[in-house]
Point group: C2
Chain length 436, copies 2
């Protein structure tokens, strides 16, 4: 099956574990069967492949996430990069054009669109496959998945089907109703809209041509920033009369807050943490290298990363957004396509960074205008290129680079490098890239 996973914005709802660079879907906090921690993206990828090993997966996302996706999925998915943030319709139109032009998907093939972060059982992806087949049959032009509600939530959209059969035509939609209205809809057999759509590729391209003037994927890509912000619901769903929906009765969770995240943690604590016996209903996620001791904590979530520390009552944690948004933090840790970096120390005119390069990877060949740098290789081997000259590096080697010096390093085995940056005006923007 062809599947487009929409990988959304950064979001600070899971601060300090999510930041401008790392969105919640990349936090490794779920244990897989091998006992290793995986992120939402890794979990969803694994689940899709388990129901359809040949699934053709494309992740639609912003530039910022590309490095992390490559790092976590190692090039096993196609990535369709949105040059700017528009709404869901331009994003899906771009991905549809990408599937046609770049992946050779025919207009008669069905395509599934699904958020990248549902926290669900494998049966959800079985249902997704069924929805894909339904779209491929073509009984309805647009096909949705509806989740059987477990309570009259006021925060979801409701699909009202004509019948309560496994597959039904959709009668109408109700957006975020009151609790009373929600109860009434549920009595009629209504379903939660979980943001999953399926259609034939040609169907969506035709609608896209009505809104956007383009011939190819590259056309949309290059004019993307000028496109109107418009949601898929508004541009497509509202105008469509032929909509079918498939009823899914398994568990489905939208993990968007610390509270829901904590509910799904398989253990009380991840990372170095001690909770005394007086603690109750408390979860700790500690990415720092120092221990956390909790005593008498009740109904709390404690999360620590290089960006900061959250100590919150579980219910209160849902109000985090405005606080996290003004939190004056530099991202202290980032995954890159080539490895990772961690900020160890920040001073007025110096910074210390730990750089980890994965075997076979390298950073950009680059220079800085306003700072000098010193590399100390602490483990691994590789090749440094300094102002055009290659030299092998091993643990204990030190390389000094003045401002203006072009440099990169290529890892043979995993390389750990301590980088000391010195200058009056240290900034991530101060970087000039070159071809090697």
């Amino acid at each position: 099956m062809n599947i487009i996973l929409l990988s959304g914005g950064s979001g600070k709802r899971l601060w300090p574990l999510s930041n401008d660079i790392r969105s919640k879907q990349f936090i490794k906090m779920f244990k897989n069967n091998e006992g290793e921690y995986e992120s939402m993206v890794q979990r969803v990828y694994r689940q899709i492949k388990s129901v359809d090993p040949d699934a053709n997966i494309t992740i639609a996302t912003s530039k910022k996430q590309v490095s992390t996706i490559n790092n976590q999925l190692g090039g096993r998915v196609a990535v369709c990069v949105e040059p700017a943030r528009r709404d869901t319709f331009p994003a899906i139109a771009l991905a549809a054009a990408f599937l046609k032009s770049e992946k050779g998907v025919s207009e008669d093939e069905a395509v599934l669109v699904c958020p990248v972060d549902p926290y669900v059982e494998d049966s959800y992806f079985e249902a997704l496959k069924e929805l894909f087949e339904l779209a491929q049959k073509g009984c309805y032009r647009l096909n949705l998945m509806g989740v059987e509600p477990t309570y009259p939530s006021e925060k979801y959209g409701y699909i009202i089907p004509e019948e309560t059969t496994h597959v039904s035509k959709v009668e109408e939609f109700k957006e975020k109703p009151s609790k009373e209205a929600a109860e009434q809809y549920i009595g009629q057999g209504a379903l939660w809209n979980c943001g999953v759509f399926a259609f034939k590729l040609g169907y969506l391209l035709e609608i896209a041509h009505r809104h956007i003037n383009f011939d190819s994927y590259l056309d949309i890509y290059s004019s993307y920033e000028a496109l109107e912000k418009i949601s898929f619901d508004y541009a497509v769903v509202e105008h469509e009369s032929s909509i079918g929906c498939l009823r899914y009765s398994g568990e489905w969770k939208d993990i968007g807050s610390w509270n829901t995240f904590a509910e799904e943690m398989s253990e009380t604590a991840i990372g170095k943490a001690t909770l005394n016996e007086a603690c109750k209903n408390t979860n700790v996620i500690n990415e720092l290298n120092i221990p956390i001791l909790c005593m008498g904590c009740k109904d709390m979530i404690i999360a620590a990363s290089g960006d900061g520390i959250l100590v919150s009552d579980k219910e209160q944690s849902s109000y985090i957004k405005p606080y996290a948004e003004v939190m004056d933090t530099q991202a202290m840790y980032a995954e890159k396509s080539w490895g990772s970096y961690t900020v160890l120390d920040v001073n007025d005119s110096s910074m210390v960074i730990k750089v980890v390069l994965m075997p076979g990877h390298r950073m950009y060949y680059h220079s800085h205008e306003h700072r000098d740098e010193v590399w100390t290789i602490v483990s691994g081997t590789g090749t440094a290129v300094i102002d055009g000259e290659e030299r092998s590096v091993k643990p204990g080697d030190v390389i000094t680079m003045g401002a203006g010096c072009r440099h990169t390093i290529i890892a043979d085995s995993e390389l750990n490098v301590i980088e000391v940056q010195m200058g009056e005006d240290i900034s991530v923007e101060d970087k000039i890239k070159y071809e090697l």
Copy 2:
């Protein structure tokens, strides 16, 4: 006046801010009149000097604390170093011999002994001065200060005076009574024993000679490890019939737990911290460089340092000791007589340290057998000595030192150095010191 301040063991009751190297009395958490944070030791020193600018202050302590005392009080006090941990009687006997031999105090002069960490108003030190004068007059051989109790505490010792006059002969002592007994003693005019003693120097030296075979301070010092562990109460107080006590009615606090510490904090938070409106009766002390966000925390204390993070209900925090004791942490931050060091990163075979040297100071001239080191000077100037050769250093300079290389650095202005240590067996014990 002559005053011996007893500076006790490390104690983990204020973990993670106190550790094996830094005892609670060195944590800078009280604001002085200039709005700067000062430690208990600094506060007590300042208070003593304000009531008696000529006070002759000696701090009796262990080797471990000497660097920190010099760092915080800058050589303005004498330090009498206990070569090992014995009980209070050997410690006071050693300090008494130190006063006689090293400071030339005559046997007819009075001496005050006081814990280094009472959290009190200046009036307490006025009373101390009065007690000193009482001892100097010689009405009683031993003179104690008694604090008027504010509640029937079960954790203090009680002094029962013969009369409730300002100064009275002591009738008897009662150690940690039940609440009911405490109430009865208070009704009789009993006082809390706050661990303050005053006597003539000759008095104590005579008792010391009865227990210990010595001629001079150096005699006690060199045989110190072999001395019997015995408390001052047991060796002196219990056998003395001529004891007077002075009644002190001001505020007196023994700050030994996070709970009492939090009560004395002048602000809700020290360091980078945000508390939302739903927080109540919660204090934060953050020594880390990253922010702490608290939401809906009630009656809590949150303390973070390079050693770890405590998140505790205030009442529960009094049970911290056994947890803190098993906490597997390396001290990540330490004050030294020459400045400070901070551990930035620890790996299997490397460590990154930030070293700050104060102007005019230097570290020992030393070498390591099992590790190589790289210094990068990030700010300040000074002179490095590497295998006997001197060289000036400035920001940007890099010095590499193989195992066995002798090295030190002397700061002209404040020097900030990033030190990368590399080796299979990195340990603080791996240090050979040399004369420069």
